[in-house]
């Protein structure tokens, strides 16, 4: 009997999942991907736009064109999901019934949740690089920045790619040096966390990096207001950080329809998810990527590693068997550090990032700046369009985190910095 799988979201997670499902399921099974527009953005590229290292137009391709033959793309806005009736309701009222629903609608920016952020000064002295238009506008502002206080502010977790704000600091240091104005700029990283990196082992290994680059760090700063007129960030406990140019990463929430759908989301609009990638409320609803409430980073590598688990479990669910594969929180990030160097970190829920090599003893250096990792980060763009999105596996890099090249003795238990959990 033909079954219908409806995927909400044609981003990284939805696209790779639909393509993997198409290969795994029979030709009679229908797969529909719904998204509001046909613009697939290569999000890792946003970091490079403000520094003139990537052109905005080149980062966008057709969503439909990334889907395999036999996957239907439907351009429509989702109004809500009716979990009891097993159907998606589109704006305008058209119902789309499903046998299995896959929520892959990611996270969205909510700058309006921070007082003053989108007020006067937004796009002038207050910017973000987390959207394509924001990153492009910021490129202009940075090019004309001749000196003063440049502040990069991470308002609160969870956010997509939590290391990107730090990478922005490293690249800003490099960019301002190249322009010969670095000595006239005070560069400050402001974070709601109690340390710069979200992982304790990273803080231990990498704290020197920020100091060496002359980047000041303000921690446990919960931004309550952005006052562009006076040029200051004000925290909920009334501390202040002054700025001439502010780069703010706004708080994130899930897609709007998640909150409109009874029983689907948590208060922030993310979907409570089991490690089998099933929604906690319904066994025929699966969740992948940034849309989950899992503790893992909101990052493309996570969606990629989840893809294998997801398809296995949907296949078993459709066959009437218990989904038995579980996602271990495997995450892999290249962290651009400027001057053509990058770091690589690889971790899961049980093992923090440690030094060593990836994926085996012979491979890319972990937790250490190297030119090889920078080349790896650049090569990733091709890997993204041609391997990740089509839902292929990367040789030697599977869903389960590799351990053989890692120096695990340095991963003793250390208290974790706390983030969104203030």
């Amino acid at each position: 009997m033909a079954r219908r799988i409806v995927v909400i979201g044609g981003g990284t997670a939805g696209t790779l999942a639909a393509n993997r499902l198409r290969r795994a399921l029979g030709p009679d099974d229908e797969i529909i991907v719904i998204d509001a527009d046909d613009r697939h953005l290569y999000q890792p590229g946003l970091l490079f736009v403000p520094f003139g290292l990537a052109s905005p137009a080149r980062l966008v391709r057709s969503r439909a064109a990334q889907l395999r033959a036999g996957v239907e793309f439907r351009q429509a806005t989702v109004d809500q999901v009716d979990l009891d009736a097993d159907k998606v309701v589109l704006a305008g009222g058209t119902p789309v019934p499903y046998d299995v629903l896959l929520v892959a609608s990611g996270a969205r920016l909510l700058p309006e949740e921070t007082d003053g952020l989108t007020g006067p000064g937004w796009g002038e002295t207050v910017h973000t690089f987390y959207s394509l238009s924001g990153a492009a506008t910021l490129a202009g502002a940075l090019a004309g920045f001749e000196g003063g206080r440049l502040v990069v502010d991470l308002v609160d977790l969870p956010v997509k790619c939590p290391v990107a704000p730090l990478e922005f600091c490293f690249l800003a240091d490099w960019y301002l040096r190249r322009r010969g104005v670095r000595d006239r700029v005070q560069l400050t990283y402001v974070t709601s966390l109690d340390a710069a990196f979200t992982k304790a082992t990273c803080n231990r290994e990498l704290s020197g990096l920020l100091a060496r680059k002359g980047i000041e760090v303000v921690t446990e700063f919960a931004t309550g207001e952005v006052d562009a007129k006076a040029g200051r960030l004000v925290s909920y406990d009334d501390r202040e950080v002054g700025f001439d140019l502010a780069v703010v990463v706004p708080v994130h929430g899930g897609a709007g329809y998640v909150s409109r759908s009874a029983g689907l989301g948590d208060p922030l609009g993310f979907v409570p998810t089991e490690t089998t990638l099933q929604a906690k409320t319904k066994p025929n609803v699966f969740v992948i990527g940034d849309a989950t409430d899992l503790r893992a980073s909101k990052a493309g590598s996570v969606a990629h590693f989840e893809g294998e688990i997801l398809v296995h479990n949907i296949y078993r669910y459709l066959a009437g068997e218990e989904p038995n594969a579980r996602f271990d929180g495997h995450t892999n990030c290249f962290i651009e550090t400027g001057f053509d160097k990058a770091l690589l970190i690889d971790f899961n829920d049980d093992l923090d990032p440690v030094p060593g090599h990836f994926p085996t003893r012979v491979g890319l250096p972990l937790l250490k700046e190297s030119r090889l990792n920078h080349l790896g980060k650049l090569a990733f763009e091709q890997l993204y369009w041609h391997v990740i999105l089509p839902g292929r596996d990367i040789p030697f890099v599977g869903a389960e985190m590799p351990r053989s090249g890692k120096r695990q003795e340095s991963a003793e238990l250390i208290p974790q910095p706390t983030g969104g959990a203030r």
Partner: protein, 105 residues
């Protein structure tokens, strides 16, 4: 695993003083924990948050972060910072005798 004593009762806590067994907590212990954290008196508003944290923990097995707490508890985020300075979710969890909220990454 370490232990500490509140009102003559030994309870299990983690390295940072968060309860590892919420069942050992009593309401009487809350004011003693709060005093140790610099909160001299627990007002009705404090209690609204503390009871909400315990309720959330019992329902969902985890404590909410500060944004979710503000959205669901009826106490605005600014006031949460006044009631429980620096880290409302963390501090309220400690006083409510539930494990440290997991930071998201």
């Amino acid at each position: 695993m370490t232990t500490t004593t509140y009102f003559g009762t030994e309870v299990a806590v983690d390295a940072e003083g968060f309860f590892t067994d919420p069942g050992q907590w009593t309401e009487a212990m809350a004011s003693q924990i709060a005093a140790g954290e610099g909160i001299a008196e627990l007002t009705d508003r404090h209690w609204q948050v503390i009871k909400f944290m315990r309720h959330e923990y019992e329902e969902k097995g985890g404590a909410p972060n500060v944004r979710a707490l503000a959205k669901t508890s009826g106490v605005p985020i600014k006031e949460l910072y006044q009631l429980f300075p620096k880290g409302p979710a963390k501090l309220a969890a400690k006083i409510a005798g539930i494990p440290k909220p997991r930071g998201c990454i």
